[in-house]
Assembly symmetry: C2
Amino acid sequence: MRECLRLADVAGANGDVPVGALIVVDGVIVGVGRNRREADADPTGHAEILALKEACGRAGRWRVDGATMYVTLEPCPMCAGAIVNARVARLVFGTREPKAGAVRSLYELCDDRRLNHRVEITEGVLGDACAQRLTQFFREARARKRTLAVGGEAK
Amino acid sequence: MRECLRLADVAGANGDVPVGALIVVDGVIVGVGRNRREADADPTGHAEILALKEACGRAGRWRVDGATMYVTLEPCPMCAGAIVNARVARLVFGTREPKAGAVRSLYELCDDRRLNHRVEITEGVLGDACAQRLTQFFREARARKRTLAVGGEAK
């Protein structure tokens, strides 16, 4: 999860909401991702999707059986759905996302017995550090907005 | 939707579950996609995701405000989440997917008032033709499996 936090920091430094993810199979990192939605102008450019695409690209198949995904923030519906689609075995996330989280907050997509795959879930790993990154990012973004607004009024 | 059916047929002919999607803005097709999960060994390679990526790539932004997505099959959780994330205005789909559909069947992800965007939904457009493609694909896939099994026994 520390490596995910590092990836999140890189995302934040590039103007994207700081989220980082990685995928481990048999103790080896097979996919990494950081949020690149703004950087790539891509609505699917979330950390989890990019980590999955890398892992599957390496393996040459659309399943990552036995894989564990680590991610700093509770996945949104798109990413939770992708995690199920790719048959990720275990998901470890840092902090909940009350507005759009689809693993525990709004939905429980990753262990819904009606779907054809269930994921084992662990939450709260380095949760405070993961949450703090996000709080700080949005605080700074609001401050920048205020500064711009004041600058605009002064003109 | 007829063009989506054509895209679905191409997917089916290439060994993927026959699903086709396209995105229209101001009467112009700005993104097309056909299911390429097997072809690309990519769990995110659904028709809707590929259509969205094309539309956003062209526009140079992660939002497709005012866009209508047409797709032959009710989107799964991953695709429904991506449709919300990309701010698609309207979704038109052919037939329901009772096992994994996330727009009407198992979830109502695209017009959940708790999320920060709601999509207008129309279903059942060329529904019989869309459903028939899928039924036929799975019937043929089962028949191929049986033939292979019989072949295996004969050896």
